[in-house]
């Protein structure tokens, strides 16, 4: 495929990953931190940025590892383990670099990094990338788009929940219950974007 065509496809995939195929609202990945952290906007923004960064880098790294290590060795089924190792190592590495060179950033993002290693959305993005057979550039767009989509969803959710804190909610629905209903309404809204593509 030529360059412009691929760039265009990358943009389309990126847009789709943010809106129409939002990894949180359509495939439900990364729900646990979503429900736990989305009480405050500030924490959500921090976690969101960390996810965007880690997801973009790890999908690209995982693409390289899959394409140039696992496929030639005929060990595709090892991707589950290898991807997890790469994600964990990468997060650890970023943590060390941040601590050393940018204590301020480490203070604000550092606490979220360990949470990310076990965020299923990160692994999920890499697995989707393999199954859909994306090329390198498209993978880059997909990883970035998925991260932004996740961040958008969690920040919007945190904003809504902050405004809800004074409302009266039935007892059984308090906490995760009402959060799921809000997420459902958001998912409904995001489906509206499908007409755009």
């Amino acid at each position: 495929m030529n360059w412009t065509g691929e760039l265009w496809q990358m943009l389309v995939v990126c847009f789709a990953a943010v809106f129409t195929g939002n990894i949180l609202l359509t495939t439900f990945l990364g729900m646990c931190p979503f429900l736990a952290v989305s009480r405050q906007v500030k924490a959500s923004v921090g976690l969101g940025f960390a996810v965007v960064f880690v997801m973009t880098c790890t999908t690209v790294l995982n693409w390289l590892a899959y394409r140039y290590v696992l496929v030639p060795l005929d060990l595709e089924f090892f991707r589950f383990i290898l991807f997890i190792i790469i994600i964990a190592t990468f997060v650890q590495f970023v943590e060390m670099v941040l601590e050393r060179y940018s204590p301020a950033l480490y203070q604000s993002l550092g606490i979220f990094l360990p949470l990310i290693t076990v965020n299923c959305a990160i692994l999920g993005a890499s697995l989707f990338m393999v199954i859909r057979g994306y090329t390198f550039l498209v993978t880059l767009g997909y990883g970035f788009g998925s991260g932004v989509g996740w961040m958008l969803a969690i920040v919007a959710m945190a904003g809504i929940r902050q405004n809800m804190s004074m409302e009266r909610v039935p007892k059984g629905l308090q906490g995760p219950g009402i959060a799921l209903i809000i997420a459902g309404l958001m998912a409904l809204g995001f489906i509206g974007f499908t007409g755009v593509l």
């Binding site: 931190p33 383990i81 965020n119 989707f128 906490g175 219950g177 459902g184």
Partner: protein, 224 residues
């Protein structure tokens, strides 16, 4: 998945009695009801919620998850004497991944249609918080047999809630259960398309959590 928090929560309530029969019964009650991972703690729904628009897919996923949880707990428990403390998380991940890959290979070879339907979700069982939560909280400090049942009941508790999500979704959205058309729903019912779309999963799960928690709260008030 956030293993630290729930793990601690689960340790506090893990059964400690060495008596075998009552321990088994307690594990069942804890896993299926008192500490049900889904509606009590809302954990680990990520990997399965996406396939709950069809009962069959949900059942296969739940079976895979329950088997993986039980066997991983068993293996972690068998190795508990030899596993160095510092690398235990890595060993647990390795063991869980081992069983998940087994399931993945088996589905690919013997049930290719289902493997295509489930796509990446089988692999995502690895990052399901429930499994590592049980390994950390219970299996690594308990003998193999109780660990196995602890994992088994925890997986079954998870499965029963997700099947309760899947049945109304398929019934109201497609008028069938397990692909078999149901009387009235397949003919006279105006299908709720939203139920098979992603928002339907959120709404159904929320309503289910509401109902189960309300039910549970009433029981607690009575016994208090």
């Amino acid at each position: 998945m956030m293993s630290a928090d729930p793990a601690r929560e689960m340790t506090a309530s893990a059964p400690k009695g060495p008596k075998k029969e009552s321990a088994l019964g307690r594990a069942a009650i804890e896993g299926l009801w008192n500490n049900n991972p889904v509606f009590r703690q809302v954990l680990g729904i990520c990997s399965t919620l996406a396939v709950t628009n069809l009962v069959l897919n949900t059942a296969v996923m739940c079976l895979a998850l329950t088997g993986t949880t039980a066997l991983s707990c068993l293996t972690v428990s068998l190795l508990r004497e030899w596993t160095p403390h510092r690398v235990r998380m890595m060993v647990q991940t390795l063991i869980i991944a081992f069983y998940v890959i087994l399931v993945d290979i088996a589905l690919k070879a013997y049930w290719p249609d289902m493997s295509r339907n489930l796509g990446p979700y089988v692999g995502l069982i690895i990052t399901n918080c429930i499994i590592m939560g049980r390994c950390e909280a219970f299996a690594r400090s308990n003998p193999p047999v109780p660990s196995f049942f602890d994992g088994l009941f925890c997986g079954l508790g998870y499965s029963f809630v997700l099947l309760l999500v899947a049945v109304p979704r398929e019934l109201l959205g497609m008028g069938s259960i397990l692909g078999i058309p149901m009387p009235y729903f397949s003919t006279g019912w105006d299908k709720w398309i939203i139920m098979v779309m992603p928002p339907g999963a959120f709404f159904t799960l929320a309503c289910l959590i509401w109902a189960l928690r309300a039910f549970q709260a009433r029981g607690e008030e009575e016994s208090a």
